[in-house]
Amino acid sequence: MDSQQSALLQRRFVLMTGKGGVGKTTLVAALAVHAASLGMRPLVVELGHRESMRSVFGVDDIGFKPRDVGLGVHAMSVDVDSAVLDYMLEHIPSKRVAKSIVGNKVLERLFAAMPAVGEIATINKLRQLEAETSSGGQRRWGPILVDLDATGHALMFLELRSVIDNIMGAGPMKRLVEETAEMLADPETTRLCLVATPAELPVTETIELYGKLEGRGTVTFGSVFANRMPHVPLSAHSVAALDEVEAAAGAVGRADVAADVAWARVALRGAEAARAQIDRLRAAVPLPIVELPQLPAARMDAGVLGRLGSLAAGGVQ
């Protein structure tokens, strides 16, 4: 295995965040497919129940237990309710009491409403997964790719230690949060990747998130992915000829050719605007930026996912 190429995938945890709709889920899936093709045992974890991961792999359901979703990838979704129940079962000394509490709607509500409990239960689950071993004694999963959903979610997650510091005294929860915070902060163990598309809002949100996390020591960044970079397949010769072709189309009354030119200009302007956004990102965020191409608006087959993953992993130093 090329060590440089798989540096990112060698971490125990690869966390992925970015504004809604920038393609995090697809990218997580692509990296997982690529990891599997390298002989690794990737586990995709989506936080909250979402439809997108299910449809990327074309499976009917992704639940709280890891399942084989094909292409050598396992996936699961960690929803807060299941994670909280799981946590209680694990931490309450008497199984009998635990079970009665688990079945208790009132307590369920309490946990749903309490601050940070959902996040704590979620990190508890992530730690369990990290520690899982197969019968041969080796680690069952690697890497664990976490689709963190929106950037606010990522912040909450990474700042959990400071959120609970004020309100929580010594106890198993506090210990768990402390230990997990260290695991997330360890650059050998965890990397946080940011995804943006080359548009104003996603780039601004990425810059802001970087500003909030940079230098805090809560996590080490991996790559920044500039997803869906437009490519306009026009030769320089054609670009240079646009004005003339437009004039000629007008002279001979070919509206279709005029439309071709108009569209080429729109596409070129779009590519230029995208480039300007990524330049803005590059200027504000001193991390390796991996550009990934705009792909056709269609479901991706295994081949495309694998190539996208390879491209994404290959760009990581």
Binding site: E51, A150, V245, V257, A259
Partner: protein, 393 residues
């Protein structure tokens, strides 16, 4: 009735429009356009948005837009074709922490209770970080807009996807929570009286011990005092929650689903619609934003999904004499056409995705497709362009 008239009808007749949809599809911009459409239809309108999008503030001509409701300077817009004035349009960008604090202030019976809650660290953590507080706050702002102002139309933009459902669940789940046995567990009043109270109290003691084991005593104490303070707000809260819950399901309320024509967004949108239906809420309309590339410069709303290049030789021979400085006119013309053919093929893929989602929808719901505009919407005139697409001009 054409489908775009349906959305126009919704804007003209409904008193609450809730825009839901996955992230990144331009939902906030569509919400603002729906609000502007309402004002253009002569209805006094307010748009409440949850997404702190600077660009929306700019698009509304309100660079200082924040938690406070402000008037949008619609007078700068061109007059309507029929000469009728545009009704007042207001907007606010809801700030969770600020709104949550004002909610507590409004429903606190007295200043002492108010202060006790504000000083409680659990409350502070809740208002800072509780994911669901977005939904509570949206609910509160909605209540205020509907109760305390004389708007003809309220447009509510929601947080992305799943959290949109919290808006529906939040009012009652919090009301139920505060009303539940649980509060009695922790706050048994003056001490157990009957058998029932004693059982509850002993259940509470066990639960408290268990929670203490998990969370540590400090957090537990804070939670109890948070609940003590919050319990006094129960009634006020329950009344508001019930009112909002009822309004969300009234016939004068419409939910509009906003999606793009990207496969992942469409999947999320389909899932969202299912979940709304399970909650007995049906979609009145769907806006497919950025769902086609406009390929006819003279007809920006035309959808071109098939394009061929079958007369390259004729084209080249007709145009070549007018292209003296172009060394290979044929290659240039072929490349340019190929680029637009690929864009048309992308439109065909968009069509497939839109049809896939539309097939699942109620036939009566309005479906509108908006093109991907050349540039992002940055001002009221740009927003008006989108209004034209959504409801006709």
């Amino acid at each position: 009735m054409s489908s775009s008239n349906n959305l126009a009808d919704i804007v003209r007749s409904q008193s609450l429009i809730v825009c839901v949809g996955p992230g990144g599809v331009g939902k906030t911009t569509v919400s603002a356009a729906v609000g502007l459409a309402g004002a253009r239809a002569g209805r006094k309108t307010v748009v409440l948005t949850i997404d702190p999008a600077r660009r929306l503030a700019d698009a509304l001509g309100l660079p200082g837009l924040d938690d406070e409701i402000r008037q949008v300077p619609v007078e700068s817009l061109p007059a309507r074709a029929d000469g009728e004035p545009t009704a007042p349009l207001h907007a606010a960008m809801v700030d969770t922490a600020a709104s949550y604090a004002s909610l507590i202030r409004r429903i606190s019976p007295d200043e002492a209770t108010h202060q006790r809650i504000l000083d409680n660290r659990v409350f502070q953590a809740v208002s800072r970080s509780l994911a669901r507080s977005h939904a509570y706050v949206a609910m509160e702002r909605l209540y205020d807009a509907m109760e305390n102002h004389d708007y003809d139309l309220v447009v509510l933009d929601t947080p992305p996807a799943r959290n949109a459902l919290d808006i529906l669940d939040a009012p009652m789940s919090l009301a139920n929570f505060l009303d539940s046995r649980f509060v009695e567990w922790f706050l048994p009043g003056e001490g157990p009286k009957g058998i029932r109270d004693r059982i509850i109290a002993s259940g509470g003691a066990v639960a408290k011990r268990m929670l203490g084991l998990i969370t540590g005593k400090k957090l537990l104490d804070e939670i109890v005092s948070f609940l003590e303070a919050f319990a006094t707000l129960r009634e006020g809260f329950a009344a508001r929650a019930t009112k909002v819950d009822t309004s969300l399901r009234e016939p004068s309320t419409s939910f509009v689903l906003v999606s793009s024509a990207n496969p992942a967004s469409a999947d999320d949108a389909a899932w969202l619609r299912h979940d709304l239906e399970r909650r007995k809420v049906s979609m009145s309309g769907v806006v497919f934003n950025q769902s086609y590339l406009p390929l006819e410069p003279t007809e920006p709303l035309a959808r071109v999904s098939v394009l061929r290049d079958d007369d390259l030789e004729t084209r080249a021979s007709t145009l070549a004499p007018h292209l003296p400085r172009v060394s290979d006119p044929r290659a240039v013309l072929r490349e340019l056409r190929a680029l637009r053919i690929e864009a048309a093929a992308e439109n065909a893929r968009f069509d497939g995705i839109v049809q896939g989602l539309s097939a699942e929808l109620d036939a009566a719901s309005a479906t509108v497709r908006a093109p991907r505009f050349d540039d992002e919407i940055r001002d009221l005139d740009g927003l008006l362009r989108l209004v034209g697409v959504l409801v006709g001009s």
